[in-house]
């Protein structure tokens, strides 16, 4: 994708400043500074255990679920510190959706999976819910495949369909940001390419942050790329710059496959 705007003209959705994260005494993230731009796709790459998934999960505070996690520094979302004392966690997670590595539809029907979020947030009107189901399934290009079996168990779908359903479920609460944690690593190449196409169309409306092991994928889908190594951000830039002319030797070594 061609980027015509200069970085300065882009809206910052997240601003991460001096972020440190500890699991007990182990420091998993070290002095992270990063900007995530609105309606762009940011890819986080790096070898296993480099902290990219951990970083992703700080953006919707999913690390809060893990015992013994300590976080320093701050992350602002639309200008407000999400680790501030009175920040509304529910509202954050409604605006910042997440898609996981393994497709994880609830053991309910396709329909119930999608309306779960809207119902939680108070939507009761049957027609509105029906509308949400159709809209989100169309957005993920799943509608034609499942429209006749909306009330059948979601677990009966193929892996790729399940993952698209999970994206639809995420879209159903009308997020502004979608965090994706290696969303295609459990999928076959055909299902993967469908998800990648989907990412392209979604980026018109949503800010996407995607963790990926697959550098070709990062190169294909993202506008910006950040390279993580041992809990640090080594380099963040436009994807084409990172892949064609990285500033840091370590980035170049990783991208050319010399390690990782």
């Amino acid at each position: 994708m061609q980027i015509k705007e200069t970085i300065e003209s882009l809206e910052k959705k997240f601003e991460v400043r001096d972020l440190n994260l500890f699991y007990g005494s182990f420091q998993a993230l070290k002095n992270i500074d990063m900007d995530i731009y609105e309606n762009k796709i940011t890819a986080l790459i790096g070898p296993s255990g480099c902290g990219k998934s951990t970083f992703l999960r700080t953006l919707n505070r999913m690390n809060d679920l893990i015992n013994g996690v300590k976080i320093e520094g701050h992350i602002t979302f639309d200008g407000k510190n999400i680790y501030g004392k009175d920040y509304d966690l529910i509202a954050l997670r409604k605006k910042v959706g997440m898609v996981f590595q393994k497709p994880n539809p609830f053991p309910k029907s396709i329909y119930e999976n999608i309306v779960y979020g809207p119902k939680i947030h108070g939507e009761k009107n049957r027609d509105v819910l029906d509308g949400i189901v159709e809209r989100t399934l169309r957005e993920v290009a799943l509608w034609e495949e499942v429209k006749d079996r909306l009330h059948r168990p979601a677990t009966g779908l193929s892996g790729g369909q399940q993952q698209r359903l999970c994206i639809a479920r995420c879209l159903a609460v009308e997020p502004e940001v979608i965090l994706m944690d290696e969303p295609t690593s459990a999928l076959d190449p055909v299902a993967t390419s469908k998800i990648e196409e989907l990412l392209n169309t979604l980026s018109d409306k949503y800010t996407i942050v995607i963790v990926t092991h697959n550098m070709q994928q990062a190169g294909r889908v993202s506008d910006f790329t950040s390279f993580f190594l041992s809990g640090k951000v080594i380099e963040s830039d436009k994807t084409e710059k990172i892949f064609s002319n990285p500033a840091n030797k370590k980035t170049e070594d990783y991208i050319t496959g010399r390690f990782g």
Partner: protein, 295 residues
């Protein structure tokens, strides 16, 4: 080595045959001893007869069936919500090291002999119902009286007795719900309560349901504790403070002095108990199959 293994194999085979055989023998024995009375007295008048007066030759066990069902369902109404809430608390809310202490305490309940439960009910619950609960109940029903030996007492004790079963099986099935479901729900902006009620409990429903069925089986079969505190009056109950006699309690109490016909009638009570439990088990399995279909 080979012959050694063959010997072991034979021993295991004998064990398997023995246990299957004993189930078969018990069944044959109960039916053999009880069927004559059912034949002479008539199955319908036996099951739906309202008078259990063995000395008059009247063997209507409907009051006993009502007694067993009322105490059992009372126990389920109290025990199941408590048990499930306890399981949720242990799995989802308490830190795991503290949960371990609570868990072993609940499991300890299973090790207490049932006569001790009965004695506890007799010494504590029965008087408490008479002196504390009755006055409150009389605000709504001024004409109510009770000795304390009642459905309520039996139901409370049985509820405590089925707790270990309900808690440990529900807890296991809740703990087995994949962590991904929790994450998915929370990431959509659900809070902990919504996640528990709308995702975790439904995902664990087949395990929770089987805990309920097993608890129900235990409640129906329980004899000693119930015998001591329900008053053993073979009369159809009108309120939860009335005394009742249960199927099991009646068999245990009357067997020792029964005349041959009376004894045969008690075996027929055993047949009814047997059939009720069989039906419940079949029902439970059907329900589980249907509910499990969503997964």
């Amino acid at each position: 080595m080979k012959s050694y293994e063959k010997v072991i194999e034979k021993i295991i085979l004998i064990c398997a045959i023995l246990s299957t055989l004993s189930v078969g023998l018990i069944t044959v024995f109960i039916f053999h001893s009880g069927l004559p009375v059912l034949k002479d007295y008539g199955v319908l008048s036996f099951i739906f007869g309202m008078d259990w007066k063995p000395t008059n030759g009247q063997y209507g066990i409907f009051p006993l069936i009502l007694g067993t069902l009322s105490v059992t369902f009372g126990a389920l109404i109290i025990g199941i919500p408590t048990g499930i809430a306890c399981a949720v608390f242990l799995v989802e809310i308490l830190p795991s090291n503290i949960a371990k202490i609570f868990k072993s305490a609940v499991e300890l309940l299973a090790g207490i002999p049932s006569v001790v439960y009965g004695f506890f009910g007799l010494a504590v619950l029965v008087p408490a119902i008479r002196t504390y609960f009755l006055p409150i109940y009389q605000i709504f029903r001024p004409e109510a009286t009770t000795t304390g030996f009642s459905i309520l007492a039996g139901a409370i004790i049985l509820a405590i007795m089925i707790l270990p079963t309900v808690v440990s099986i529900s807890e296991n099935s809740l703990a087995a719900v994949p962590h991904e479901y929790r994450e998915a729900s929370l990431a959509l902006g659900a809070n902990k309560r919504e996640t528990i009620v709308k995702v975790l409990i439904p995902a664990a429903k087949s395990g929770i349901l089987s805990s309920v069925i097993l608890g129900m089986g235990r409640a129906i079969g329980e004899t000693m504790a119930v015998l001591l505190i329900t008053g053993n009056m073979p009369v159809a109950p009108k309120s939860m403070l009335d005394s009742v006699a249960t199927l099991t309690g009646t068999i245990a109490m009357e067997m020792s002095y029964a005349t041959p016909t009376h004894q045969s009638a008690l075996f027929a009570v055993g047949i009814v108990l047997f059939v009720i439990i069989m039906l419940l088990n079949i029902l439970a399995q059907l329900m589980m199959k249907r509910m499990g279909g969503g997964q």
